[in-house]
């Protein structure tokens, strides 16, 4: 990049003229002009301020600082930097590296997108315009999966049409699931609990493996190993809690958590293989699940299809292939109207 100091042969001279005051003001202007609420009057004021050559110089210098970060914008570079910085500051604060990077545990978490009506519907293009999705730190499109290494060494996989924000601090690791579904391999860190927060409440890892799924009106937590503390949101008091243990699931709304009960072994989503494993389950349930991975509409008459049961292992991320298999083996007829609408009927 061209040095903006080319007006003189001695950079030091100009630099000393850049007072701390000018730099601070320039930084403030950068912040203001970047803001969404910046308006015409801000711009006018800025132009006046910038007429002072020292101010203009300070502003350009900070632009140069800003540009130095361009090269860190790629996802691997960004993750490398964050993870590196976090490690370094962890070292300085005296926390042992082993405690942070030690054994990993698994958290599985899911948010259902479908409104459970007669039509299984996944928000298509319009869904991309939701504020939660647009502004989220990490997000995926329908049918897409993305893997991310978090600053603490945890590994997060975003499933189809998912949006997540992170808030990691010295005292806790918060993962806000705005929509969709994530899987996490959590790096153990005794000093900073990891919590997954959905619209209904939160689930805190107590050295364990579990899943959370948001079903719109409630969330469901399924524990496959050890224990999880499940708490309803309750105006952010999180006082209504249930300790849920291996083999159990608990359901929570914003005000209540149900007593844990035995989990459903006949309808399992295998994250790593991206497979849906079902045993004697209603076809309508499988189609609802499938719709989450399909960018169009899957139209089904639930009453007409209600008696049909399905067993099998389905590659859930390829809905069209699953539909083809279902059509072959079941008394159903599938009609596709372009790529947008798929209608499932009894034969």
């Amino acid at each position: 990049m061209k040095e903006p100091l080319s007006a003189t042969n001695n950079p030091r001279q100009i630099t000393t003229a850049l007072t701390q005051e000018a730099l601070e003001a320039a930084a403030e202007w950068h912040v203001i002009l970047q803001s969404e609420d910046a308006d015409d009057s801000d711009l006018r004021e800025f132009k006046v301020w910038r007429q002072n050559p020292v101010h203009a110089q300070a502003f350009r210098e900070l632009e140069r600082v800003w540009q130095k970060f361009d090269a860190a914008e790629s996802i691997p570079a960004k993750q490398t930097l964050k993870s590196f910085m976090e490690n370094e500051s962890t070292k300085h604060s005296g926390r042992s590296k082993a405690a942070v990077l030690g054994c990993t545990i698994c958290i599985l978490l899911a948010v259902g997108l479908c409104v459970q009506h007669h039509v299984s519907f996944v928000p298509s293009v319009a869904g991309y315009l939701s504020p939660a999705w647009l502004s989220a730190e990490y997000k995926t499109a329908i049918g897409e999966q993305q893997k991310i290494i978090l600053s603490d060494g945890s590994r997060m996989t975003l499933n189809t049409f998912t949006a997540v924000d992170l808030a990691f601090s010295e005292s806790q690791r918060l993962i806000y699931l705005r929509q969709g579904e994530i899987e996490i391999d959590v790096a153990k860190d005794a000093t900073r609990p990891l919590r997954v927060i959905s619209q209904h409440g939160r689930a805190t890892a107590l050295g364990t493996r579990y899943s959370v799924r948001d079903l719109g009106d409630r969330s469901e937590v399924i524990v496959t190993e050890s224990k999880v503390e499940v708490c309803a949101k309750q105006d952010k008091h999180f006082k209504e809690c249930q300790l849920t243990t291996k083999g159990q699931s608990a359901s929570l709304t914003t005000t209540r958590v149900t007593s844990p009960s035995a989990i459903d072994q006949n309808f399992v989503y295998d994250w790593n293989r991206q497979q849906l494993i079902v045993e004697e389950q209603p076809l309508v349930r499988v189609l609802d699940e499938l719709a989450r991975f399909h960018s169009g509409l899957i139209h089904q008459d639930q009453q007409e299809l209600s008696g049909i049961l399905v067993s099998g292992v389905f590659p859930i991320t390829d809905p069209q292939a699953v539909l083809a298999v279902l059509e072959e083996s079941l008394p159903i007829k599938i009609t596709r109207y372009g790529s947008y609408l798929t209608v499932v009927k009894r034969q």
Binding site: E24, Q34, W66, K68, E73, S83, M85, N87, E88
Partner: protein, 178 residues
């Protein structure tokens, strides 16, 4: 770096090299317990100082050499860590579908990230995070405020503070070594 070197400063440099390079080599040998690495580091240290315009005014050349060399050693160690981490992350994202990044790409990324890490050194964690969330993740002030549990005006102050800090580090880097 060598652009704009006056004959005078080159002379100071030459004098400094002949007076102290043997001493610096010995110092580095003890520090690194590896003569080859120490020899390289002596060269790197003097190269680094070659662009320093204030060389004439240095009263304690050995202190300057030690400070510069120490920082180069730290940088080299950080650089290795960054490269390792980048390769891991790269592999994680690209899986087996893509080959590893080229040596040039790796070196470039490592240099850039090292510089950025140096710029961010010494900033309070919240300030650093606010800046990175804004700069690299494109997050809005209000969202950063929620994440860090501070007010939006604090976030703005953090980002402004980080920018000035980064500038001062860059400036020091360009002028004074260490």
């Amino acid at each position: 770096m060598a652009v704009g070197q006056s004959p005078e400063s080159t002379q100071v440099m030459t004098g400094m090299y002949s007076d102290h390079h043997g001493w610096l080599f010995n110092w580095l040998c003890k520090k690194l317990s590896c003569p080859d690495q120490a020899a390289d580091m002596v060269q790197d240290t003097f190269c680094r100082l070659f662009g320093f315009s204030g060389l004439q005014e240095v009263r304690e050349p050995r202190a300057l050499l030690v400070t510069t060399a120490t920082r180069l050693i730290i940088d080299a160690a950080r650089s290795r860590k960054i490269e390792k981490k980048y390769l891991e992350t790269y592999a994680y994202y690209h899986g087996e579908l893509m080959s590893a990044p080229s040596a040039e790409e790796l070196a470039q990324v490592s240099d850039t990230l090292l510089l950025i890490a140096r710029m961010l050194d010494g900033l309070p964690v919240n300030v650093r995070n606010a800046f990175l969330m804004n700069r690299l993740d494109g997050m809005k002030y209000a969202d950063i405020a929620v994440c860090l549990d501070v007010s939006a005006s604090s976030v703005k102050k953090y980002i402004a503070k980080a920018m000035v800090h980064c500038y001062l580090v860059l400036e020091q880097d360009a002028g004074i070594p260490a």
